[in-house]
Symmetry: C2
Subunit: 334 residues, 2 copies
């Protein structure tokens, strides 16, 4: 039905093998013949079929990336740099979105198997460790974010959340803040627990009493109600460490609604360095987790894992970096 390699071969007056060799630049074809084939391809507008190609050449050149929510501003940048890097390494990249739903996570993993990818970057925590092991058992390389120990075909990307929190608390301490509240995120998430823990630890290191710790939901609303609550506390904290930027924006809104000024009365910090941090008013002091590095390293890790003879997993570390904004300032004189 559609144009095949046979049509090209006929047009150029050669065999299909020759066409294939020209297309794949194996260098086995004479210059004259090469020209013939190329012009036949041009003339006919032939485009090879990726499915037939994958099937015939046992060499699978696809990488997958699974994210929990493409609408979460954290992911697009990661996806993009993953895809760019994958392409540089000669892979096709496919994306699946799980929407935080375990069923769809299963489907996503199955899709990766169906597509016979060489590796998958798992950027969500709704996935079960069993599923990861299943992928690895099928010799599909996997990278994930601190979900399991490293093993065969499994590498780990550790984001240094603790260091980010450390830098925030240090920053606030040096500005003179002593009562520093924390607005948490969702309970189940390991990445959230790590940050809370780091906060508590660092506070103690400075000889400060941790807390109060307010509940949040990783969303604007949770931040806002926390902000309202904090505004009427007595003694009122002079600084708030929020679990992410969106929460920080909510906190600021809550504070401002009750007349608290940011940062004159209360300093607020976020996490993740989303665009929101930059564009909110005041802009937010936050932590940059180098998302483009994350995506790139994920692709590199998969490449290395699936390419080498010994697919032993490795640990990678992604650094976090404090970025100053207008939302943090000197503690008010009591």
């Amino acid at each position: 039905m559609a144009l095949t390699i046979r049509d090209v071969a006929r047009e150029a007056g050669v065999s299909t093998a020759t066409v294939s060799n020209v297309l794949n630049r194996t260098g086995k074809v004479g210059r004259r013949t090469q020209r013939l084939v190329v012009s036949a391809v041009r003339k006919l507008g032939y485009v090879p079929d990726v499915h037939a190609r994958h099937l015939a050449s046992h060499d699978r050149r696809t990488l997958g990336i699974i994210v929990s929510d493409i609408e979460n501003p954290f992911f697009p940048e990661v996806i993009k740099s993953f895809e760019v890097r994958a392409q540089q390494l000669g892979y096709d990249a496919i994306l699946s979105d799980t929407n935080y739903d375990p069923r769809r996570t299963r489907r996503a993993a199955e899709r990766m198997m169906e597509h016979k990818v060489r590796g998958v970057a798992v950027m969500t925590s709704e996935i079960s460790v069993r599923l990861i092991h299943e992928l690895a058992r099928r010799k599909i390389a996997v990278t994930f974010l601190d979900l399991a120990p490293v093993r065969e075909y499994m590498s780990n990307l550790r984001i240094n959340y603790a260091s980010g929190v450390d830098q925030i608390v240090k920053h606030l301490y040096e500005l003179g803040h002593r009562r520093i509240a924390f607005v948490a995120g969702r309970d189940g998430l390991k990445s959230n627990a790590v940050r809370l823990e780091a906060y508590e630890q660092r506070m103690k290191m400075y000889g400060l009493e941790p807390g109060p710790v307010l509940p949040g939901d990783l969303r604007f609303e949770g931040g806002m109600s926390a902000g309202l609550e904090i505004a009427k506390m007595s003694p009122r904290p002079t600084a708030v460490v929020a679990i992410n930027d969106l929460t920080a924006v909510g906190v600021m809104k809550g504070l401002m609604q009750t007349g608290c000024r940011v940062p004159q009365d209360v300093s607020v910090t976020g996490f993740d360095k989303t665009r929101l941090a930059e564009y909110s008013n005041p802009s937010i002091t936050t932590v940059d987790i180098h998302r483009e590095t994350l995506g790139k390293i994920a692709a590199d890790a998969l490449h290395e894992l699936s390419d080498s003879a010994n697919p032993t997993g490795k640990e990678y570390e992604i650094e976090a970096e404090l970025v100053l904004g207008e939302s943090s300032g000197p503690a008010p004189l009591t």
Copy 2:
């Protein structure tokens, strides 16, 4: 090497055809045999190879979507609803990001051809009409945003920008504003030109002099410098219509930096209803372009185009809707 349908057939003691029939629910298999096959599949953990499947069954069940920039907050929602709808219709969806680069746009289109997709939703304007025609000529259904007239295998999704602008101007007029400025976007973009034109037309309809029209860049920075400029105009406009939300945020920042209050002194409106509009402070009066509808309709349009016997293109219209925020209010008494 990996598990094939033959392994399953052997395990179940049937032929490969039978396994295939069970997997594809053709209903030609007896209950007993069905059970045998299913349990063999389970036991072995067999997952079919998508490439072999596509190759053998000539029925291509993939749709593609090409966007200019996945990091642009406009797209993720569109992509998601496109993928969800595609899946409901039984398609696999693949995504390409062009990064506003014509070369990458070409690559994206080629990728779609290589994958032998049934249809492509083109959500970028960097694509040449030639390329769209080339896709259509290969009987790949295409939908786009007002890039070309409808033809065979080509449907058009028209976003009603004009109506959105109309609603904004009407809203401001009714609040008593008479001097309404406009902050433009990028010059080449048709979608931007349409909005500017609609603004001018509507202003005249109300017997108002359009302008001033300030340049922008669809980014925060352009908005901010426009905001600074507007602040020192005399007589100062009492309202500003910005080309998009990000620009509006910039405008507000610029205004506020010079002591103008929003909306007490100057009202500001955005466009697109990104998260930014909701979370900025004050939140922005903006226009919602129903992105999830856009994605869904794109998938539906492709399905219809590629499914029916006569692939005649159609026109679809996406409505725009005013959403009130805190950034617009009554015109100040002069």
